[in-house]
């Protein structure tokens, strides 16, 4: 397992307070994303636990783009990865964050 945390700039999410209650967990066989309330309103805090070693910069690129596409400021994401590809990670993040935006 490799574990690291990131704090990335993002537009504030208007529903950050209720994020945990609204979203909870998005998961499939090899990926789990937990959405909760984070710190600064213009940052998205992300904790990644991944089974793949040596792909931190790939993760950073995927996550930087994802939180730039969506209003994810003020959220904390916990990502538990058991071999998901970047395609799956992107799709799941889009699903989780768009669901929040739709309800905002």
């Amino acid at each position: 397992m490799e574990r690291f945390t990131l704090s990335l700039p993002s537009v504030p999410c208007t529903r950050a307070d209720a994020a945990a209650a609204l979203c909870g967990v998005v998961s499939s066989g090899n990926l789990e994303i937990l959405v909760g309330r984070g710190g600064a309103a213009d940052r998205c805090d992300i904790e990644v636990n991944t089974s793949a070693h040596g792909f931190r910069d790939t993760w950073e690129a995927v996550l930087t783009d994802a939180v730039a596409r969506h209003a994810a400021g003020g959220l904390a994401l916990a990502i538990n990865d058991a071999g998901a590809t970047p395609a799956v990670v992107s799709l799941r993040l889009d699903q989780a964050l768009e669901a929040l935006e739709d309800r905002a």
């Binding site: 071999g83 590809t85 395609a87 799956v88």
Partner: protein
Amino acid sequence: MGAPWNQRAARRARRLERLAPLTRGREIAAADMVAALEAAIEPGDRVCLEGNNQKQADFLAESLADCSPERLHDLHMVQSVLALPSHIDVFERGIANRLDFSFSGPQANRLARLVQERRIAIGAIHTYLELFGRYFVDLTPDVCLIAAQAADADGNLYLGPNTEDTPAIVEATAFRHGIVVAQVNEKLARLPRVDIPADWTDAFVVAPRPNYIEPLFTRDPSLITEIQVLMAMMAIKGIYAEYGVQRLNHGIGFDTAAIELLLPTYAESLGLRGRICKHWALNPHPTLIPAIEAGFVESVHSFGSEVGMENYVAARSDVFFTGRDGSMRSNRAFCQTAGLYACDMFIGSTLQIDLAGNSSTATLGRIAGFGGAPNMGSDARGRRHASPAWLRAGRERAGDGIATRGQKLVVQTVETFREHMAPAFVERLDAWQLMEDMGMDLPPIMIHGDDVTHIVTEEGIANLLLCRSAAEREQAIRGVAGYTPVGRARDARMVENLRDRGVIRRPDDIGIDKRDATRDLLAARSIKDLVRASGGLYDPPRRFRNW
């Protein structure tokens, strides 16, 4: 017979004379098979051992491997597929030392080792159609060892649904005075139909067990991912619908299985029934059942059959090619010809794509070969008949110039990363290293970049027909290569420019909401669903049953 012009016939007569004490009528006892092969084959012979994509003359292969290397040596093997351990044993035991073939997937590691140890000399790695062609030119077999379902006492053969390569092999051998030996599963007083007439065959053996057939084209829908669903949606809406693709071939993987399973649902919702996917050069894929049942499919001609699909195929004789007896008739040589000349599209997956669009399934330490993909996945420059899809692709390639020919659509569909984070897009194909390691003349490229028209990934579709320079082509490929190192090294401005011109299209650009890409869109989500869709006619192999 003494004339110098009929030596081959004389040689054949001598072999049959040696074989005669071991045959009763045309039949050889299984226990005598090794002795029979030692009688019929001579050192240095070119021997075609029927190893197909699916059907295997496995008993004859094992018998050949058990022959004495003192009696039989320096054989030159010509065969489509090296699938069984015995196919390699023949070389390891010193019986054969030369090989011309097409595909060796399951034995790719052992084959590479023998090449490096210089115990086997590979003439060339071919496409199927290319190898069949050479059977009639400079690689005609002296002896062929084939597999059939049944024989009658006269030596007529019934091939069953898996005809595959047999007619091409037998025709080349029998009509140039070679020896044709068949293994059969059973001897019948009367065959359901005659696929190979008795006067083209010399001897048969009832094998101790039925010949091995690999269910190579069965894809379990439960393993199809949402990314594959997304890419299938993009292919259907962005390519099939746009070009109006009526006649096509699909590759073997889960990516194309997803497309097959989206026809009755997603394609139907787009109003595409009757407008796309009517005629197929395809094995009877179980995942095509829902589309057939939904009325998408008018005809399917097949290279071979698929284990468990026999009853379904027989019950859908308007769609599949079947004999007067009701059972399926396949034929790899004709189906490959159909794929080359009569189809407007090939779509399949691959392991690696480089910046020129060359794609390869070669990996280091394995000589896997090609099979049929390079033939299906290439533009037939001899083609002359037009179709809307072919004309449109030709015009896109010509740009402002005048199109004097159309173009087959050759589509590669790949997720940017494969399992274990292996990138599908690379600066340099492993094929180049393999070429150096194995002393090959050329890198084993599956589909050449100049034949590829579109690349589909989860990030978008790159239309290479619209690229006007090598630099544009490179950026079009980088622009759909996602977060792979190749994709991240893109020129973002140039990629946006290509997107503005429609060379690159994202899901949004095609009107696809990524959130709609769920497994709920699959017309069948399990093998059991496929059985249900077939009305109980599909009988999946045991290993695919989990209920």
